[in-house]
């Protein structure tokens, strides 16, 4: 390609080129920073630190926990996604909301709640006389992380279920397959992209988790990394550990890319698309309700109840309304724009990957995930160096914080959009172009409405994550900026749970509200779409 042609492409396709450049730049900056810091290390010491039995044990622990949580989240998410989309169960919308809300619970709050419930002196023992060992170690981390991350998988699967083309199932049934075999042979394989993108987020979340593993006392890479930063004030060896974590992430991304290759799930026949029929469960519906209630009870009501108990137990007089209000405003004013920005950045990245699959578009898509896997503390330090060097006026502004959130959490936004794009038939867009629309026009009028549901899920993910974020906020927020999460963590860390409770409850409440609004929008987008199709 000549230089002039490249310039032409950039001018014509600015709406793809600019976001992609931002994404790639935003991920490369931390990577370059980590490499620079790592190369400052003394090679001999570094070698001793990296090559020792403990590194191998950390690797084993980290991989073991990741695999365990992937299984755990699948067991929770798949039935729940099916129940809320393919059955006539009452209150499906409420169940969906409850299935998303665990994302509003900070990991350490989930861990504290589980630890307060179990053990000789735990709530279970005191109320029901049921003594189970106090949760800790692998089992504790596994339960806490499965409960707090399954929504990533649940929402991806749900989007996929809603977009399934029923004609395939009907054909299989017409050819004499029973319901169960149709599910295993026809439905499950079509859920693979959703499984992969949801599972990827779960895996990356486990790799980066600090809150849960530190409280459950289970040694993983990110825990060791945190100790390195905190214990020895050492940015250099910490950078080396961060790079090791990124290599591990790279391996997972390669694996996912291999599994995803050559998938195509949009409808190919002509005629109108429909939504699949819903099963009536008969007496089995009670099992469905019981399962959903159990999951919601453990993942939402237990932590919310524990926090409520902290608040009731506190002798602190009254609620700190002024501080709550200020913290709420700060949290929302950073998280909401970040959610929108992340979704806007994710759209072209996912679009390139799905519609123009080539080696380099795949690389761009994977690069977005590396940002998510970069330890937030390293990410924040890199942005300090970058912003002070390149755009000093932006340092410690809200704009930089929003940008940091969006770049760091963008991986969460790519998956849902990608799943939706896989199901949007490209020939519709081609038809629009043949009728004289520009590429951008065709996309906006034809494909965009079909991926809107995915975009809403993307925004929900990023918003919920940003509301809980700590290290980026600590280091990049404008001075004096106080989010709900900063307050919750600060009080909980000093064992002042009574004072932490109002902030934690506000995070959960506002997140529930935000997700609720998004789900309402989803309903609004469903109806006109079905009307158009009819």
């Amino acid at each position: 390609m000549t230089g002039a042609r490249v310039l032409d492409t950039i001018r014509d396709r600015w709406y793809v080129v600019i976001p992609v450049a931002v994404v790639v730049g935003g991920v490369l900056i931390p990577l370059v920073y980590l490499l620079l810091r790592a190369f400052q290390a003394d090679p001999a010491t570094l070698w001793d630190l990296v090559v020792r039995g403990r590194t191998l044990r950390l690797l084993g622990n980290t991989v073991g926990l990741t695999v365990g949580v992937l299984v755990g989240t699948s067991v929770l998410a798949l039935p729940l996604a099916w129940l809320t989309t393919r059955t006539a169960l009452l209150g499906r919308r409420l169940l969906t909301l409850l299935g998303v809300l665990p994302l509003a619970v900070p990991g350490y709050v989930m861990a504290y709640a589980l630890m307060a419930t179990t053990g000789e002196y735990g709530t279970l023992a005191q109320t029901l006389g049921l003594v189970v060992p106090r949760l800790s170690g692998y089992v504790g981390a596994w339960i806490a992380l499965s409960l707090s991350t399954f929504p990533y998988l649940f929402l991806n699967l749900r989007t996929a279920f809603l977009g399934l083309d029923p004609s395939l199932e009907e054909s299989a049934q017409a050819l004499g397959r029973g319901r169960w075999r149709v599910f295993v042979q026809v439905v499950l394989p079509q859920l693979r992209p959703a499984f992969l993108s949801g599972g990827l987020l779960v895996a990356l979340h486990v790799l980066g988790d600090f809150g849960v593993v530190s409280l459950m006392r289970y040694d993983t890479f990110s825990y060791a990394l945190y100790i390195q930063y905190a214990a020895s004030y050492d940015r250099i060896y910490a950078a080396c550990l961060a790079l090791m974590l990124l290599v591990l992430t790279g391996a997972i991304l390669l694996l996912e890319a291999r599994l995803l290759k050559g998938l195509l799930f949009h409808r190919t026949e002509s005629g109108a698309g429909r939504t699949a029929a819903q099963y009536r469960l008969g007496p089995w519906r009670w099992a469905g309700y019981a399962f959903a209630a159990g999951v919601a009870g453990l993942s939402v009501l237990l932590p919310a109840g524990t926090v409520g108990y902290w608040m009731a137990d506190s002798t602190a007089s009254g609620l700190p309304w002024a501080s709550l209000g200020a913290a709420l405003w700060d949290s929302v004013s950073a998280s909401a724009p970040a959610a929108v920005l992340a979704a806007l950045l994710a759209l072209p990245v996912a679009y390139l990957g799905v519609r123009h699959p080539s080696n380099w578009t795949r690389v761009v898509e994977r690069v977005a995930y590396l940002g998510y896997a970069t330890p937030p503390l390293a990410f924040a330090l890199a942005l300090i160096v970058f912003s002070l060097g390149a755009v000093p006026f932006a340092y410690q502004t809200l704009g930089l914080l929003v940008m940091a959130y969006a770049l760091h959490f963008m991986a969460e936004a790519v998956g849902p959009v990608r799943s939706a794009l896989y199901q949007a038939p490209p020939h519709l867009e081609e038809a629009a172009r043949s009728l004289g629309r520009s590429p951008l026009g065709a996309f906006v009028s034809v494909t965009f409405p079909l991926v809107r549901r995915g975009l809403l899920v993307s925004m929900a993910f990023v918003f919920l994550s940003a509301m809980k974020e700590l290290p980026l906020t600590f280091l990049l927020a404008p001075i004096g900026f106080e989010t709900l999460a900063l307050n919750t963590w600060s009080y909980a860390e000093e064992a002042m749970f009574g004072q932490a409770a109002p902030y934690a409850l506000t995070i959960m409440f506002v997140s529930a509200l935000f997700v609720g609004v998004l789900l309402l929008r989803e309903r609004a987008t469903e109806h006109p779409a079905s009307a158009e199709r009819a």
Partner: protein, 342 residues
Amino acid sequence: MTRLFSLSLIATLVLSLLGCGGEQQDELVIYSGRSKALVDPLLEQYEGEVNVEVRYGSDAELLAALQEEGDQSPADVFWANTTGALGNAVNNDLLTELPDELMEQSARFAPTNQRWLPVTTRFRVLAYNSDTVSPEDLPDSVLDLPEHEEFEGRIGWTPAYSSFQDFVTALRVTEGEETARTWLTDMQALNPNSYSSNTPMIQALDAGEIDVGLTNHYYVLRLRYGDAKVDDEGSIDPEASVATHPFQEEDIGNLALVTGAGVLQTSDQSEAAREFLRFLMSDEAQSFAAETLNEYPLRPGAEVPEYMMPVDEALALSPDFDFERLQEMDPTLDLLRDVGAL
């Protein structure tokens, strides 16, 4: 409706990207490793008089940020939880020398380089569950703790936490490398539970997961007396079955750990910054530290609540130790890694 929704979102986005940044010239910027939960009420009092902005974080996060910011740092004061962090800031030449007049206000632990001011102190203790353990059964010296095999699997410690590492450094410096290594190895043989920080450890102690734990004194007091501020111990009903056991006088297990603050080289308001340090040594701030945080004030003559051990007694328990040597962290970390505690 949709359009309105999208427009308002985009407007918010643009506004926030333009940002409300920019530090005002006259405000004092404090980087505080001391958590907001602890010091916010005190700073609110001070904010009434001076225009103050605070960035909270852990000591390590703020130190890393200060180093990456370099000359462009907006910070004026570094207020830290640990001597180690302050020593690290001195080594990296981040702090300016303080005038004698200021250093004299806190002579007890003052560093000879005069780069930071000691503000309060805390003490290492052995905490125990008072339902399951009787204080007579506990050792006189922390060095004898590994002999108590009855605590196998029932001891808590925090190898990744700065105050525990400070204790190990002091142990290494005063008793020698070999004694420290033996102590750590023998402790490891008792299969202790490692907690990420003191709060979850004290919770575990109260929940009966462990019987004893090596911690700092104020965590126990805060859990035991909670928010109830009562002058007379007789009338306090402890909220938790956790108590502290001091070792014998001058035992390394009673080590004093000093918090402090310094003025940064990058400060464009060094007079205001020194004024803030003076405020930290004021009656108001020192009694806040004692009554609300249950830490020991360093201003001579300051009082502590009745349920705390009196200042002189507590100081007498602590060993005489050149605590500038707490900066020698690297051999400690190597040791902890060698014995498999980190």
